[in-house]
């Protein structure tokens, strides 16, 4: 069978809702695209651990100190699972990690921003995890089967994180003036990055991953689901949104934002790995990575000394 014939068969298989396993034949563009997508997801989990772990030392109660540690631990665990899935597509974990710390690969925009206080933990745990869950749940039916199996576990843990984040948010919302101010301050700083998180409007014609059903829904579709689900909840707690301010569209029943209200510039900078915290966080990780080569060697080497 020629490459073209294989490709035609592959396309027909996908078109009919078929799934792809690691050992199946797949076009190079599919392999590369899926690998890059999962690698970015894995990178995002491990880099996503950093903003929250910054607040672990300051957790305001013993219970929160343990639960936030557990949550960040889950994120790192997700990265571990995802790197394994990515590895099977032909890039070693060592290579992926090296690319990450050297700024050669990407991770989600929201993890390029600083955290300031416990309000950030609330926003990350509730709205950012909420946004992530909307996008991840949409991938459960992805054409790349090994990814969906791992996502199933990730999504069920993320559900717990979401409850944890909502719980923290509700405590702040019903707390002291200073606690409410913390939540509002964090919301104000994070709102635009959260909108960016979904990305610009999908170019359906050009998006190969969408065509091959690795992704199943457009960016704007996912963003709409998020807005409809979370905007009313936040307003109900008495907080206000900065630009792009969501408004209720009576005709459609949706919570909308105007495209012209979105400033895309910060996202463009992050795409060049030039976000507010990008360099500092990557440098921290790189320092630990570089100075602890001996740990990886100790784990990799067979024992050389008899006890």
């Amino acid at each position: 069978m020629t490459y073209e014939e294989k490709l035609a068969r592959f396309n027909a298989h996908i078109e009919a809702g078929g799934k792809v396993e690691t050992e199946d034949w797949m076009p190079d563009d599919y392999r590369t695209g899926v690998l890059k997508f999962i690698e970015m997801h894995a990178n995002s989990e491990i880099m996503g651990a950093i903003p929250e772990r910054e607040q672990v030392p300051r957790a305001p109660s013993l219970k929160r100190k343990m639960s936030l540690t557990a949550k960040v631990q889950d994120e790192v665990g997700h990265a571990q699972l995802l790197y394994r899935v990515a590895e099977d597509l032909g890039k070693s974990r060592e290579a992926m990690f090296s690319d990450l710390v050297n700024g050669k690969s990407k991770f989600h925009n929201v993890f390029h921003y600083p955290t300031k206080h416990w309000g950030d933990v609330a926003i990350i745990g509730w709205l950012i995890d909420g946004a992530a869950l909307v996008t991840q749940a949409a991938l459960l039916d992805s054409s790349y089967a090994p990814y969906t199996r791992v996502l199933k576990r990730i999504c069920s843990e993320e559900q717990l994180h979401l409850r944890h984040g909502e719980d923290i948010s509700l405590e702040l919302a019903s707390g002291t003036e200073s606690q409410r101010a913390m939540f509002q301050d964090a919301l104000t700083r994070w709102w635009l990055p959260i909108i960016h998180f979904f990305g610009p409007k999908t170019n359906v014609e050009k998006d190969l991953l969408l065509r091959w059903k690795v992704k199943t829904r457009t960016n704007e579709d996912l963003r709409q689901e998020f807005l409809d689900r979370y905007v009313p909840k936040v307003l109900e707690l008495g907080f206000t949104f900065p630009a792009p301010v969501p408004f209720h569209d009576e005709a459609s029943g949706h919570w909308l934002i105007r495209d012209e209200d979105i400033d895309w510039q910060p996202l463009d900078a992050i795409k060049r790995n030039e976000g507010p915290e990008t360099a500092r966080r990557l440098a921290l990780r790189k320092t630990i990575y570089d100075t602890h080569r001996w740990v990886r060697e100790a784990l990799a080497e067979p024992a050389v000394h008899a006890a």
Binding site: I46, E297, L299, E301, H305
Partner: protein, 278 residues
């Protein structure tokens, strides 16, 4: 004077809290991804144990466990100095983890038969979790000590530094004599310390790590870290006064700059709204 039982429980709780805090600083940043996950578990366990001890204190004094953990002044903490030391590199973290968990295991073994009716059962539960910490630490020590030279050297150097301060874990707490008489703790700190030195020396020797400890272990002699990182027994059979040592004084509220920074960080959010619900 502080109730000797409270004094003992606070020493235990503060050790676990402060070390758990240090361990959790690796969360998201450990040099190996599997280890990141493992260390986060250990951190949660230690903080959980601290919470359980603080709850016992709170029952006696009517205080609040979170206030005890996050609302006290620096000089009110009673952890051993070893626990508050900054993480440094993974080698130091590992050496401290290994030494601490061996010391803790001996302490818990003794406390399981405490005359205090709630402490014994609590310690039984805690020991079940601590068993895994010990297994984790032993596995790593074996792995690194039998691995390539760089790791082995870093580990040996770190043990040299941490060992000396680990003896501060056995500094008697305030009112220990009374706690012994009451049976709250069945074995004295100095006896536990001798058991610890003996056990650690035997284990290091078995791992082939550079130490001269075994030959002097029976006498429970002092050991100092040499510049090479080897543990060398001082020939002086008499112990010098613990207060002269950097690793001591923690049980009396002496704190190092490492603790000051930790405390500022750890209590900062709690202090914004003391008594608030989070």
């Amino acid at each position: 004077m502080t109730d000797p039982l409270v004094s003992m429980l606070l020493a235990l709780a503060d050790d676990e809290l402060v070390l758990g805090h240090r361990h959790s600083e690796w969360t998201g940043f450990a040099p190996h991804i599997e280890e990141d996950v493992a260390f986060s578990s250990i951190a949660q366990d230690e903080i959980g144990h601290a919470a359980a001890y603080y709850s016992l204190v709170a029952k006696i004094t009517g205080d609040d466990p979170d206030r005890l953990a996050l609302g006290r002044e620096k000089h009110e903490y009673r952890n051993a100095i070893l626990c508050e030391r900054a993480n440094g590199d993974w080698g130091y973290t590992l050496a401290r983890h290994w030494l601490y968990d061996h010391a803790d295991a001996l302490r818990l073994e003794a406390l399981e038969s405490s005359a205090h009716e709630e402490l014994g059962p609590l310690v039984t539960k805690i020991r079940r979790e601590e068993r895994y910490h010990l297994l984790h630490a032993d596995t790593w020590l074996k792995r690194v000590s039998q691995g390539p030279v760089e790791g082995r050297k870093r580990l040996a150097d770190s043990i040299g530094i941490a060992f000396e301060e680990s003896l501060g874990l056995f500094e008697p707490f305030e009112g220990e004599q009374d706690a012994l008489s009451a049976g709250w703790i069945p074995v004295s700190s100095s006896e536990l310390r001798q058991r610890f030195v003996r056990q650690v020396a035997e284990k290091l020797d078995a791992l082939g790590l550079p130490t001269h400890m075994t030959s002097h272990a029976e006498e429970g002699a002092e050991f100092v870290a040499s510049s090479s990182g080897d543990l060398i027994a001082s020939d002086n059979g008499e112990r010098s006064a613990p207060s002269a040592d950097d690793g001591f004084g923690g049980r009396r509220g002496r704190r190092t700059p490492d603790f000051d920074a930790l405390w500022e960080d750890m209590t900062s959010m709690y202090r914004t709204s003391p008594g608030a619900r989070w």
